[in-house]
C-alpha cells in the first residue's frame, strides 16, 4: 500500500464518519434554537475570551439559523468528498467540524471529535500537496502515531490506576449513571474475578498497541481486536462515534506497519 493510497482510504472513511456525525447533529438542531437547551444565549459567555472580531463572527456563524445551514453544507461536502475528494473540500470540512465542536462547548463526544480533526488535518495537508511525497508520508504517519497513542496513552493511564489493576474500576463505570449499560454487561462483570480479567484484557490490549506497528500481520490482528473493542464499547456505553472515527485511522496504521525507511 502506498502512502497516498492509505491517505485516500483514511479520507473516504473519515467522510463516512462525518456523514453520520452530521446526521446526528442535524437531528439535534432544535436544541440550538433560542428556546432549546443549547441556545446561543446560554453559551455565549464562553466566547467572550476571543478577540472582539472573532467572537462577533462566531456569534453570527453559530447562531442556530446559520449553524443549521452550516451542518447541511457539511453533510453535502462530506458526501461529495466520498466520490470526488478535493483539497478545498477537506479544508472546509475541517473548519465546519471545528465550528460544530465549538458550538457544543469544545467537543460533542470527546475523543471522537478530536480523532476526526486529527484525520481531517492530515487529509487536508496530504491532499493540498499530493506531489510532495514527504508531506503525504508525514500526514499518514501522523494519523498512525495518533491512533497508536490513543490506545497506548489510555492503557498506561489505566495501568497507573490502582482501581483498574485490582478490577474495581470497570464495575464502577458500569454502575455510573452516565452510561447506563445493558443488564447483560452488568451481569457478565458481576464477579470480582471476571471484572479483574476483563480489566487486564483491556490494559494489555491498549498497552500493546505499539505492536501494531511491528508488521502487517500484527497490525491486521490488532485492527481486528480494535474493531471488536469499539463494538463492545458501543454496546456497553453507547459510544458509536468512536467506531467510525477510529476506523478511519486503520489504513494509516496498516501503512505504517508496512513502512520501512
Amino acid at each position: 500500500m502506498q502512502a497516498m493510497q492509505a491517505m485516500q482510504w483514511c479520507g473516504r472513511l473519515i467522510a463516512v464518519a462525518i456523514v453520520f456525525q452530521t446526521i446526528e447533529l442535524l437531528q439535534l438542531r432544535r436544541l440550538t434554537r433560542n428556546d432549546g437547551i443549547w441556545a446561543w444565549d446560554a453559551i455565549k459567555c464562553d466566547y467572550e475570551g476571543f478577540p472582539r472580531p472573532v467572537s462577533t463572527m462566531l456569534a453570527w456563524v453559530l447562531h442556530w439559523r446559520v449553524y443549521a445551514h452550516l451542518l447541511r453544507l457539511r453533510l453535502l461536502f462530506a458526501l461529495v468528498a466520498l466520490w470526488s475528494p478535493h483539497p478545498w473540500l477537506w479544508w472546509l470540512l475541517f473548519c465546519f467540524c471545528l465550528l460544530a465542536s465549538m458550538r457544543w462547548r469544545g467537543t460533542f463526544n470527546g475523543g471522537s471529535d478530536r480523532m476526526t480533526l486529527v484525520v481531517l488535518a492530515s487529509t487536508c495537508l496530504a491532499s493540498s500537496f499530493p506531489d510532495r511525497p514527504l508531506v503525504v508520508l508525514g500526514s499518514v504517519l501522523h494519523i498512525a502515531v495518533q491512533a497508536m497513542l490513543s490506545y497506548f496513552v489510555a492503557g498506561v493511564g489505566k495501568f497507573g490506576s490502582a482501581n483498574w489493576r485490582t478490577g474495581r474500576a470497570l464495575p464502577r463505570f458500569l454502575r455510573a449513571d452516565g452510561y447506563d449499560p445493558p443488564r447483560a454487561a452488568r451481569h457478565l462483570l458481576r464477579g470480582r474475578s471476571r471484572a479483574w480479567i476483563a480489566s487486564w484484557c483491556i490494559i494489555f490490549f491498549e498497552c500493546g498497541s505499539p505492536l501494531a506497528l511491528a508488521g502487517p500481520r500484527c497490525c491486521l490482528l490488532f485492527i481486528g481486536f480494535a474493531g471488536l473493542f469499539h463494538l463492545v464499547i458501543f454496546c456497553v456505553f453507547g459510544l458509536n462515534r468512536f467506531v467510525f472515527a477510529w476506523a478511519a485511522t486503520y489504513p494509516a496504521l496498516y501503512f505504517a506497519s508496512t513502512f520501512s525507511l
Binding site: F20, L25, A42, W104, G106, D113, Q146, A154, R172, N240
Partner: protein, 192 residues
C-alpha cells in the same frame, strides 16, 4: 420567588475588598483575565488530542429535579436525564444517546467549576489575597445549560400549567458505602 431568595440559597457569590499589595493586584489581574480566556480556550480543545479514556471514576453526578404540586408542596426528587433505548441503528446515528452523554458532561463540568471555585476561594482566604471580582455560578454557561435541561424535561413530561421547580446535583460515591450527598441545590424557580 424573587431574585433576593436566589442569592440567599445559591453558593458561590463572593464579593471581597481590593488588595493594596501590587503583586496581589497583578495576580488578581491575570486571574480575572484567565477566567475570561479559559472558557474560550476550552472551546478549542478538540484541536488538542488527549487520549485518556475511562481513567478512573470515584463518584457519579446525578441531576435531579422536583416540581411544585397542585397542593403547593414540592414533589419528590426525580432523575432529570434518562438514557434513550439503544438499538442496532444507534451504531450509525445515536443523536439522543450522544445528547444524553453531552448533558452528563455539562453536569460534570458544573460540579468541577463549583469545586474549582471553592478551592480558589479557600486559597485566596488562606493567602489573604482579596478578590475584586464577583463570581456568580448562575452566570456560568454550565449552570444555564443545566437549568435549561431541567426546563426541557419538565416541558416534555408535565401536562397542565408549568409549575415552579427546583433542581439539584447529587453525588453518588461509587467505591464506598458512603451515602449520596448534594453539591448544589438551586433556588425554587418560577415557571418559564
Amino acid at each position: 420567588m424573587g431574585d433576593r431568595t436566589e442569592r440567599e440559597e445559591l453558593p458561590g457569590t463572593t464579593v471581597l475588598g481590593c488588595s493594596p499589595d501590587p503583586a496581589s493586584r497583578v495576580r488578581s489581574w491575570f486571574g480575572e483575565r484567565w477566567a475570561v480566556w479559559a472558557p474560550a480556550l476550552l472551546l478549542l480543545r478538540a484541536l488538542l488530542p488527549a487520549w485518556r479514556f475511562f481513567d478512573d471514576i470515584e463518584e457519579a453526578q446525578v441531576l435531579m429535579y422536583r416540581i411544585e404540586e397542585t397542593s403547593g408542596k414540592l414533589g419528590p426528587w426525580k432523575r432529570c436525564l434518562r438514557r434513550p433505548p439503544r438499538t442496532l441503528g444507534s451504531l450509525f446515528t445515536n443523536a439522543e444517546g450522544n445528547l444524553f452523554l453531552a448533558c452528563g458532561s455539562v453536569v460534570e463540568q458544573l460540579v468541577e467549576q463549583l469545586a474549582e471555585h471553592m478551592v480558589e476561594q479557600l486559597a485566596a482566604e488562606g493567602a489573604e489575597v482579596c478578590r475584586t471580582r464577583t463570581w456568580d455560578l448562575r452566570s456560568c454557561s454550565s449552570y444555564k445549560l443545566t437549568r435549561r435541561m431541567v426546563q426541557d424535561r419538565i416541558r416534555n413530561s408535565h401536562t397542565g400549567p408549568p409549575p415552579r421547580y427546583q433542581f439539584k446535583v447529587e453525588v453518588r460515591p461509587l467505591g464506598s458505602s458512603e451515602k449520596p450527598y448534594d453539591v448544589l441545590v438551586s433556588p425554587l424557580y418560577e415557571p418559564s
